[in-house]
């Protein structure tokens, strides 16, 4: 499809139609929506401008498009991290407030959300890129390497470390979470008597 767009630029609209939702969705999960939408539009403009350089032997445009998106995001790294920390605080507050609903699963998800946000904010941007391209974009090691123009070995080591950070925070929060949920539920029971 990219190769066709070299011959007929309007064929590039088909690349947009196939991949916009995924690229915009990936960006929207990472930065505020207005900025994400702007970056998604810019991703396709840049891709179109650079399509001559795209390796036409590669069948899948996704790593290339995610690579452009990740590169654009890098300029907004601080915004992304600030948003993650704000999200972590809000999720923690909501988790406590929602405890009276008595829905354990939702509590669990909210508390996990707070810890995930904290973990993601604490990662280096290179590690975060690798982790989220793996978890959210479903790219394989080779595809992430192509997207970020880094060796596959670097992908592996970054992913290993990033997963470790996230796991550790989740496990740690799990212990705290159990205590706080138990306490909240006990309080709610006391009050309902």
């Amino acid at each position: 499809m990219i190769a066709e767009s070299l011959a007929a630029p309007h064929a590039f609209a088909a690349v947009f139609d196939r991949h916009y939702d995924a690229i915009a969705g990936f960006l929207r999960r990472r930065v505020e929506h207005a900025l994400a939408d702007e970056l998604a539009a810019e991703t396709f403009l840049q891709a179109f401008g650079a399509r001559e350089r795209y390796d036409t032997q590669r069948a899948d445009a996704r790593p290339w498009l995610y690579g452009i998106a990740a590169n654009l995001l890098r300029r907004h790294r601080r915004v992304e991290e600030r948003r993650l920390r704000a999200y972590a605080r809000a999720a923690a507050r909501d988790g406590e407030a929602g405890a009276f609903d008595g829905v354990d699963e939702r509590l669990d998800a909210r508390a996990a959300g707070a810890e995930l946000a904290t973990a993601l904010a604490s990662l280096g941007s290179g590690e975060r890129d690798v982790l989220l391209l793996y978890a959210w974009a479903d790219l394989g090691y080779d595809e992430i390497a192509a997207a970020l123009a880094i060796p596959v070995g670097t992908v592996r080591s970054r992913l290993h470390r990033a997963r470790g950070v996230v796991r550790e925070l989740l496990v740690r929060s799990g212990e705290q979470m159990d205590e706080s949920i138990a306490a909240v539920i006990a309080t709610a029971r006391e009050e309902s008597r």
């Binding site: 190769a3 066709e4 070299l6 011959a7 007929a8 630029p9 309007h10 064929a11 590039f12 609209a13 947009f16 139609d17 916009y20 939702d21 915009a24 969705g25 990936f26 929207r28 999960r29 929506h33 939408d37 998604a40 539009a41 396709f44 403009l45 179109f48 401008g49 650079a50 399509r51 001559e52 350089r53 036409t56 032997q57 999200y87 998800a109 996990a112 959300g113 995930l116 946000a117 982790l131 989220l132 793996y134 978890a135 959210w136 997963r163 996230v166 796991r167 989740l170």
Partner: protein
């Protein structure tokens, strides 16, 4: 037992839903960029240059441009690209004035080829565009249904890239070489800065723009057609490749500018100053990147008529 990746997959998944308005706006923005674009635009300059070459590829170079041996149309052959382009300008200035009238369309039929894209024949594209930029274009690829696009009333023209200029607007540009050079330079710089390219690239961009404009130029007044060739003659680093045959085996003169590992060629008929072909090959290897041959053109009265 869920892993941290499962947790992550659920995290902020609600945010992933795209906004239809933002999607439509992004698509419109892309189409606006696409519409006035000539078949091939130059890519932004990469940070590091990758050498393309090798002896194996050199063999392909021989086939890349079919230099015509033994042809002699008489007279003294131009020694430089600038000479060849100035001679074409003189021919263009003498040409007929086929300027479009309101209600008429300039028709161009082109055939494009690229590596791996040849599925039993070239891609055939037909364009119809009016003085004010309305029209339509259809694309046919072997084994695929015809693809049709129309430019509605009031929509921007795709005629003259990189600015969506209509014939009327191009007619309003300066007719003298200096004025036209400046106008094309501004267009090239606007394109370059919009794509994060260094300003030093502008003459390369200008060469591409001149080629794009020449496609539609026969429907411009002869003086402006000539001025386009004279602008090309002033650009630096344009080399004369000599006589070649285009995708339809017509003989023409090829000039080229090489930048960023790609050689962009313009092939024109020295007797009529018509643009015959635009082609991009990899410098060194000569491997074809893209070529478009302008097979037929002329003035017609509707967007379904052919000359």
């Amino acid at each position: 037992m869920s892993t941290e990746i499962d947790h992550l997959r659920a995290f902020r998944s609600d945010d992933a839903a795209p906004d239809p308005d933002a999607r439509a706006a992004a698509r419109a923005l892309l189409l606006e960029r696409i519409a006035p674009t000539a078949p091939l635009r130059r890519a932004p300059r990469p940070r590091s240059r990758i050498l393309v070459g090798g002896l194996g590829l050199a063999a392909a170079a021989a086939a890349a441009i079919a230099l015509v041996a033994g042809l002699d149309s008489g007279g003294v052959q131009p020694a430089t690209a600038a000479e060849a382009l100035r001679e074409a300008a003189d021919v263009a200035a003498q040409g007929p004035d086929v300027a479009l009238q309101p209600g008429q369309y300039w028709y161009v039929r082109s055939e494009s080829r690229q590596p791996g894209g040849d599925r039993g024949g070239p891609e055939v594209r037909e364009d119809w565009f009016s003085l004010t930029g309305q029209g339509r274009w259809v694309v046919r690829r072997p084994g695929e249904p015809e693809e049709e696009h129309s430019i509605a009333d009031g929509a921007l023209s795709y005629s003259f890239f990189p600015q969506p200029l209509t014939y009327e607007q191009v007619r309003a540009l300066p007719a003298d070489v200096n004025g036209l050079y400046d106008a094309i330079e501004r267009a090239g710089m606007a394109w370059a800065s919009g794509n994060g390219l260094p300003v030093a690239d502008r003459t390369h961009e200008m060469f591409t723009i001149v080629g794009d404009w020449l496609r539609a130029a026969p429907a411009l007044p002869p003086a402006r057609r000539a001025a386009l060739y004279r602008v090309a003659a002033r650009l630096p680093d344009v080399e004369l490749l000599g006589k070649v045959r285009d995708g339809r085996a017509r003989e023409g003169i090829a000039v080229a500018q090489t930048d960023d590992g790609l050689r962009r060629e313009l092939v024109f008929d020295p007797d009529t100053a018509q643009l015959l072909m635009q082609r991009t090959v990899r410098a060194g290897s000569g491997e074809l990147v893209y070529e478009s041959t302008y097979v037929e053109s002329g003035v017609v009265d509707s967007t379904t008529a052919r000359p």
